[in-house]
């Protein structure tokens, strides 16, 4: 989502697309698999310059992070055994886990609650989508407790969930 203001700016200055077209692109990017930033870049590139445009814009989107990560990975290889680096990671790892957990909560808020304006500790129970929660518990049990089933590839659970979603209409 960090790229959104930037994309909106490009639309205004270059007139490649209107703001409402941009809103449609965001909606589609959000509802398709894959990282939002990549989806957005591909979509905008495709609108503006066809297949070639999509490829160029997507590659440009990832190029800076590929360079940065490669540099960090190189540095890390050298300093892997440094005490400060190891201690830093000791503190970093739980923080990173917490950030992923927080992302899980924000997807959960959309997936497990009915549409709401304002969710708080006091009113959240009235917004719970019980059908969705029950299905979530089933998937959790299948992926953690049921022998053999839990070894299945995550993609299979996603496919099952899509079918159940169509039938049950959460």
């Amino acid at each position: 989502m960090a790229t959104l203001p930037f994309l909106s700016d490009i639309g205004q200055t270059m007139h490649w697309y209107t703001q409402s077209q941009l809103a449609d692109m965001v909606a589609v990017s959000e509802s398709t698999p894959g990282p939002l930033g990549i989806n957005m870049a591909t979509y905008v590139g495709f609108r503006v310059g066809g297949v070639l445009g999509a490829i160029v814009s997507t590659l440009s989107e990832v190029l800076p992070s590929v360079i940065i990560i490669t540099l960090i990975a190189m540095a890390l290889k050298t300093f892997k055994d440094n005490q400060y680096v190891q201690d830093g990671f000791y503190g970093l790892r739980p923080a990173s886990t917490a950030l992923i957990a927080a992302a899980c909560c924000s997807v959960g808020e959309i997936a497990l609650f009915k549409p709401h304006r304002y969710l708080s500790i006091w009113n959240f129970i009235t917004f719970i989508n019980w059908k969705a929660v029950a299905f979530g518990v089933v998937i959790f049990t299948m992926t953690n407790r049921v022998p053999k089933v839990k070894k299945l590839h995550p993609i299979i659970f996603i496919a099952i969930a899509a079918v159940v979603g169509i039938i049950v209409k959460f």
Partner: protein
């Protein structure tokens, strides 16, 4: 929201840690940590890291291409049939179901990484503080990561000074 880059983490973990055994649970937790505090998308950053570890710079580049190509294909296909896609109730319902599965799969990933990242009271404290602050505020992940790394160094050096076992 489909879950974005985070939705890919459970799949990365299954393929790369469990099936191929290219990196350990702890290493992937480290890569997520770095992937979150550097600009760019966490799934792309993690892939670049793993690619670099296995095959150097070229490996990093190809791992990244691998992560982005499904999105490229899917979005370009959708862009052509977009009006049909948007109005389809079936697609909307399917995504509602998928989102629930994605939440559970990310939760599983968190539990798995948590086992290698939350190892004592101090790390549990860091986890809890960051989780609560990340939910209630809009503080950038970069800030969390910098503070947590500093805290890690401070905690460990205090332990050494106390003479306790590390």
């Amino acid at each position: 929201m489909f879950g974005g880059g985070y939705a890919m983490l459970p799949i990365l973990q299954r393929e790369i840690v469990e099936n191929k055994k290219w990196v350990s649970d702890q290493e992937i937790a480290d890569y997520y940590a770095i992937g979150q505090c550097t600009p760019g998308i966490i799934a792309v950053n993690t892939a670049t890291f793993i690619g670099y570890k296995k095959r150097g710079v070229i490996g990093g580049i190809f791992a990244t291409l691998g992560v982005i190509s499904p999105s490229l294909l899917i979005i370009m296909t959708l862009a052509k049939i977009i009006s049909r896609f948007e109005n389809s109730e079936v697609v909307v319902n399917a995504f509602k179901g998928i989102r629930i599965a994605v939440v559970v799969l990310i939760l599983n990933a968190v539990i798995k990484i948590g086992k290698s990242s939350i190892v004592d009271k101090a790390t549990f404290g860091i986890f809890l503080c960051v989780l609560i602050l990340a939910i209630v505020s809009n503080i950038s992940p970069v800030v969390f990561v910098l503070i947590a790394a500093t805290a890690g160094i401070l905690i460990q050096s205090l332990r050494i000074r106390k003479g306790g076992k590390k």
